[in-house]
């Protein structure tokens, strides 16, 4: 009986381990593009203020849809993301006033989330690589 129980426990463990590792592989594959990784970062750090549709909140949090900020200079974008921004921004005649806090993200995370934002919500702009982020950050310091 004892042996039977042990065998049972081991097989359960093996089963759950195998299904766990399978899940791991699947989810890793799902998240393995800059766009999918970027979306995860966006959802966690950016969405609360910039909203699910990237449209921001009038007068408070600026929209990320086809603005010169989002489609323009990568240097400015990396700077805003990593250093924060605390001055009023004007877009299409409306001012946006909430300060953007500096985000504590790795070069890869910055690259992924910027690539995601620059290619979501109707935006179409070049991807941002971790190497580019690293180079820009080195100059910003």
């Amino acid at each position: 009986m004892k042996y039977l129980l042990l065998l049972f426990a081991v097989s359960i463990a093996a089963l759950s381990f195998s299904s766990f590792s399978e899940k791991k592989v699947v989810s890793f594959q799902q998240k393995s593009t800059p766009m999918t990784r970027g979306k995860v970062i966006y959802t966690q750090y950016c969405l609360p203020c910039h909203q699910a549709d990237g449209g921001g909140v009038l007068h408070l949090n600026p929209p990320l849809i086809k603005t010169s900020y989002v489609l323009g200079s990568k240097v400015t974008l990396v700077e805003i993301l990593t250093k924060g921004l605390n001055k009023g921004v004007e877009i299409d005649g409306d001012s946006y006033t909430n300060p953007m806090p500096a985000q504590n993200l790795t070069d890869q995370q910055v690259a992924d989330v910027l690539t995601f934002v620059r290619n979501s919500f109707g935006n179409k702009a070049s991807a941002v690589s971790a190497a580019e982020v690293k180079a820009i950050r080195a100059k910003l310091k």
Binding site: Q51, G55, G93, S95, T97, P99
Partner: protein
């Protein structure tokens, strides 16, 4: 699905669209209201319509938050008495939120000053291009910059000066940044200031800090029944900046939006505390050492009513009319602009609520009075909402007016026996 069906569906949708357009032209506002009430659209496309004031003649002044054709106040008239404001005149070269009628004057605010205009016997502005500046130099540092105003019966005007910060952190809205000890913002903001309604060119030194510890107040009104000021506070954002104590869902539901009766010296508790509507107590802010459970023991007053978090109460009105059924008399209407920071939960608000009152005290719980402004069943991003309730006013016939600062629509809600 085959082409035939597609065409059928397209045809049907066009029919529906045509039907809804014709309904819109009939001025029915399609709001959800209690039995017997009806809402009509009485003005449209005004711009960013914030607070509103109605004259005894039934005309309306609307304060705009962004200049339209260079003007920041719209004067609406219903000259043919069909219930719709068909005549618009604009004046005032400043944008802002506050507007109020009292003692033969129209008072209006920009984000750093308050002006007044003398009215004639028909309550029309005599010199629209020559306002008298009664208050100037108020703090406007972009956050919570709107200046709401209301007058009492003793010659004073009350002005909200919002805090230019979320929670007085060393680094505003930065994860785990602690609160500045003895928050210095409170010297010139984060409270209600009282000035003389009849004196020109006043600034901080001429008024008094009537109440403090209010992060931002947009909706406020003078309750004639107990001759007191009542305010609605916009609670703080982003408790999730302290992830040790707050996950995203907890942060989406805390803190309460709160209503206070304000007398001289009332303290709303910001930034040191917030009101937790689930624990029914004031909680020490995480910026000042709180852990989401420690009760705040410092000086702060309790709200008289708590509402769900982040719904942004922008308009408050005590109803003194005789048109609505008896239960509404002397009660409070509150226009909730609607939330933006309740993700991952759906956004909330975008409606007008009612709170029954007697002698300055709520006599029951709040209830949604007018809903459907958003035009969608669920708002996940704030832009999903078509209209956002902002200002409230009572017409001479006892109807309730609601402004929308998204599309500039004015709603009139009436009761038909």
């Amino acid at each position: 699905m085959n082409m035939k069906y597609n065409k059928l569906i397209l045809g049907f949708s066009l029919l529906l669209l045509g039907y809804s357009c014709s309904k819109a032209q009939s001025n029915d506002a399609h709001l959800t209201l209690p039995q017997g009430f009806k809402a009509t659209i009485v003005a449209n496309d005004l711009g960013r319509a914030r607070h509103i004031a109605v004259t005894p003649e039934g005309d309306m002044y609307v304060k705009l938050n962004r200049l339209k054709d260079g003007k920041g106040i719209v004067y609406l008239q219903d000259t043919n008495h069909d219930g719709i404001f068909e005549k618009q005149t604009s004046f005032g070269d400043y944008s802002g939120t506050g507007i109020y009628l009292k003692n033969g004057y129209l008072y209006a605010s920009s984000d750093n000053s308050v002006y007044r205009y003398k009215l004639n016997a028909q309550n029309q502005v005599i010199h629209p291009d020559q306002p008298e500046k009664i208050i100037e130099g108020l703090i406007n540092r972009r956050q919570h910059e709107s200046k709401s105003i209301v007058l009492d019966n003793a010659g004073y005007i009350y002005v909200n000066i919002g805090a230019y910060s979320n929670s007085c952190q060393e680094k505003d809205r930065q994860n785990e940044s602690m609160g500045i000890p003895g928050c210095p913002l409170l010297d010139s903001a984060g409270g209600i200031w009282r000035f003389n309604a009849d004196k020109l060119n006043q600034t901080y030194g001429d008024g008094i800090r009537y109440a403090t510890g209010f992060r931002n107040v947009v909706g406020l009104d003078w309750n004639q029944q107990d001759n007191s000021l009542y305010v609605m506070q916009h609670g703080r954002d982003q408790l999730t900046m302290f992830p040790k104590y707050y996950d995203n869902e907890k942060s989406a539901q805390l803190p309460a939006e709160t209503m206070y009766k304000v007398v001289e010296g009332t303290n709303g508790g910001w930034p040191y505390s917030y009101y937790d509507q689930f624990q029914h107590k004031k909680i020490l802010s995480p910026e000042y050492g709180g852990d989401s459970e420690k009760e705040y023991k410092g000086k702060a007053d309790d709200p008289i009513m708590a509402f769900p978090a982040h719904m942004a109460p922008n308009g408050l009105l005590f109803y003194t009319g005789n048109q609505f059924p008896e239960k509404y008399k002397n009660g409070a209407f509150i226009a909730f602009h609607g939330s933006w920071n309740r993700a991952p939960l759906p956004q909330e608000g975008y409606y007008v609520v009612f709170v029954p009152f007697k002698d300055g005290k709520p006599t029951g719980d709040w209830e949604v009075f007018a809903n459907g402004f958003a035009g969608v069943s669920q708002v996940s991003s704030s832009r999903d909402a078509e209209h956002r309730p902002c200002g409230l006013a009572q017409g001479p016939d006892g109807s309730l007016y609601v402004s929308d600062d998204s599309k500039g629509t004015i709603y009139k809600i009436s009761y038909q026996k």
